[in-house]
Symmetry: C2
Subunit: 512 residues, 2 copies
């Protein structure tokens, strides 16, 4: 065990890999080269079309112990990963690592295949039951949770080698050109899959919508795709929307949104060239709404909106409030329609979105990002991976990436959730380091990180309820009481990898 700079106990190694404890957000500099894929040759007349998923798995050369990847652009509506794992199990292949861009509750279907040893581990975070069962010691599979940018880094630097990428391709031609703009499983941006296509040893396009050559616009090109196979259905695009897409009507949420938007206005960032990211939750949308109104009032022309894109940001683009949308993932059908239509709605890969090891990702250009939290501590460290019961229930997504990149990252969260205080002495798990968090906004007050003294002063001048974070904590705990500390076993069930590959925390088995 070693302590990292945040005082978290990090094992020496995990799942056969020596671990580097987290130090700070910006220092680790890569020394190696981009992981190289084999050159290949496909002569004119050769066909890439295969007749079944099984045939594609066979053609890919998938063997025991190898690593596969899928993308999560269909989110909880994805059918492919479950089908793949079932087929792999049926073929008698074992010990497969899953390096998908994310795993969702729908993928609980693969739990029997984890138990049987078909699936050996996860090179990605997991949402839902798999993490919960791992936290309870009911599943024995290493889980390495990565940020979206960190996953791109790991694949690009070769610390995760994807042997076969199976890419759900909502619109695909027989030579492998694809996009996600149309078809029964249209999901918009294929941003996560772009990294896989560039670096996987073998790339299989899986489609339920084979169209005549060539698919244009090309999101992933034929030059990277080895095989093409059709299936009945890739997924249910109605389930792309995983959280609400309506502005909250809850008074607590509205109060938080009001404070957050006032923080943005006070920050001095809300001027021509403003760039912004929010998630798709009800509070985030309420903040967006207030920011939009402020931009209209001030006649402000923003630079770009980023991240998982919602219809709300599409409206802002079409209204001229943003010059561009940088879209790694569409969060709703309005975004899917827009990316197919609006030239300034730019599809970007996860590398361009958030990888710390390139010549500069889009997150580096963010002025402001609105982020959630399950817990925050008095050093501004944020947890989004585990719930306060200690269960690993959520993937990191772009949380740490945008916090590290943006000039101002704002955590919005109700002060009390499930009768527990949002602010803790020590978060159950550190997802995102406090040194990259600017402000924590609750309905009971606003805590500003000391790294932003001018903003703090301005908020006080504007008579906003600025409180020291410890003060905010004490105020909340007067209502909730101080929660009992959770009890954990020594067993590490997952590690939380920071975007640069260092380990920011370990998730341990909950003592029950």
């Amino acid at each position: 065990m070693a302590l990292n700079s945040l005082g978290r106990e990090i094992p020496e190694s995990y799942a056969g890999r020596k671990l580097v404890p987290y130090g700070d957000p910006y220092s680790i500099t890569p020394s190696g080269s981009v992981a190289a894929r084999r050159l290949r040759r496909v002569n004119p007349g050769a066909s890439k079309l295969l007749s079944s998923l099984r045939e594609a798995i066979e053609a890919s050369g998938l063997k025991d112990g190898m690593t596969i990847a899928t993308h999560h652009s269909l989110r909880n509506g994805d059918f492919l990963l479950n089908r793949l794992v079932a087929e792999i199990a049926d073929m008698g292949i074992r010990g497969i690592w899953i390096a998908s861009s994310s795993v969702h509750p729908v993928h609980a279907e693969i739990i029997p295949h984890i138990k049987s040893g078909v699936v050996a581990g996860f090179h990605c975070g997991v949402n839902g039951l798999i993490g919960e069962m791992a936290s309870r010691g009911e599943l024995s599979c290493p889980i390495v949770v990565r940020t979206h940018g960190g996953r791109a880094r790991a694949i690009m630097e070769g610390s995760v080698q994807v042997d076969v990428a199976f890419i759900a391709a909502p619109c695909c031609d027989e030579y492998g050109n694809m996009n996600g703009y149309s078809g029964p499983s249209a999901c918009g941006s294929l941003g996560y899959a772009q990294t896989d296509a560039l670096h996987a040893a073998c790339v299989v396009a899986v489609t339920d919508n084979l169209v005549p050559f060539p698919v244009v616009p090309v999101s992933i090109p034929q030059t990277l795709v080895d095989y093409v196979v059709t299936v009945d259905r890739l997924g249910d695009p109605a389930k792309i929307v995983s959280t609400t897409t309506r502005i909250t009507t809850d008074p607590v949420g509205l109060q938080i949104a009001s404070f957050a938007s006032q923080v943005i206005e006070a920050s001095g960032l809300l001027k021509d060239g403003f760039s912004f990211q929010t998630g798709s939750g009800g509070i985030s949308l309420a903040v967006s709404d207030k920011v939009r109104n402020a931009m209209r009032r001030g006649n402000i022309k923003g630079s770009f909106g980023c991240g998982g894109i919602t219809g709300y940001f599409v409206e802002m683009l079409e209204e001229g409030l943003f010059g561009a949308l940088m879209d790694v993932q569409c969060f709703d059908q309005e975004a899917v329609k827009s990316i197919a239509k609006n030239r300034a709605h730019q599809e970007i890969g996860a590398d361009m979105y958030a990888n710390p090891f390139n010549a500069g990702a889009v997150v580096n250009r963010l002025d402001c990002v609105i982020l959630g939290a399950t817990e925050v501590d008095t050093s501004f460290n944020v947890n989004v991976n585990t719930e306060s019961n200690g269960y690993l229930l959520h993937n990191t997504g772009g949380h740490s990436d945008t916090a590290a990149g943006a000039k101002l990252s704002i955590i919005v969260a109700p002060s009390i959730r499930g009768r527990l205080p949002i602010v803790r002495d020590r978060v159950t798990t550190v997802t995102t380091p406090g040194e990259t968090i600017g402000v924590v906004v609750t309905e009971r007050g606003i805590a500003v990180n000391d790294r932003h003294p001018e903003l703090k002063e301005e908020l006080i001048r504007r008579k906003l309820p600025v409180k020291e974070i410890g003060e905010l904590q004490r105020e909340i705990c007067r209502v909730t009481g101080t929660p009992q500390p959770l009890q954990f076993e020594d067993q590490v069930v997952a590690v939380i990898e920071y975007r640069d590959g260092s380990i920011i925390d370990a998730v341990r088995r909950v003592k029950e």
Copy 2:
């Protein structure tokens, strides 16, 4: 010396590299991996903007003996390469190799710097005076002529390592996102530069049109660009058009075009899904015009038009005769306007266009390509590099790539040029092997390669003037007489690299 399969004498080595003699178009299979670029890290807040080209050269770490690249999308209107070489000379750096995508007559300005040793050689073909002077023994600089696809291959496999790519960026932001769609030097597609950006050790964007972040659509992303520098002017886009863009009015040309279009109709390829490439010359456009009319008459919906794109193909796209344009390079201002506007006008990199060592380039999907020739021999081998005086005057472009990829490649050429017969016993230089050429069309008759027996039969059935190529040659020579064979020294002034890296011919010094 070794003889390659076409009987050409190939030196054992050239410019320090051991050579592989050409064998056939499809057999060489790559064994290595894609050349890997260093990972890098650019933290938020870092600036990439430099104040002068000189500062950019310094920042890039360019040293004696290194290799630079520029793209030729501005063709004979490019200002950048001359300025760069002058600056490099001024800085006292020597022995630089130029691995640009092409060099044009305008770059004759660098000849003094070749003589003085600032420029050591060319990892690319050259158009104009540099090649002529090399052919006459007046310049001592190795020249390795490559096809567009072969250049992408060489850079991707690392046999050419570009140390610094200077990319003329007609529309660029301070973080290096760029496209060629707008600005005073708009050139449309940046297809050639994409390869350089992905693989050069250092990438410098050079722009005369710095616009607010972010440039969208993104043709080359910020993640690949190390520095951004502004200059007064990148070039003169009026000079993008290097040949005529009008349909020929010459009766010989019209006769050839008429025959060629009848060959296409007879081939059975002209049906729904038809894909087509032509150049921008007067005869090519006349063929396009006839093909367009045939498509209209037959209500044929083509698949895609490819290659250097002209306004003529744009009209066909907009008319619905093609579903897409695959554009590595815009050949006129109509194409530039279209690529910025038409979503089905797809920008593609040289890798996707024509690299033989990927999972399948666009040329593999071509039904038919119309190509030129300075000479053809009785084995259908084609020369486009040297003129019949033996001077190296032209780069290969996509000639060999498209011929190898297309189902049917048609050479269109007048039977007599400069009083010399187009058909020879032996071409001065082999650019493209006869085994990839389908038909040679002259105004005096049509020669069909034995590889297309059914087409030959159909042309005869249609009463077109089909002749054996030897017969065609004799008929032409009855007018022109048999030309005196050229005399060459032993000295090799350039090698012609086939798209797979083997050497298809060597160009020797002309005896004068």
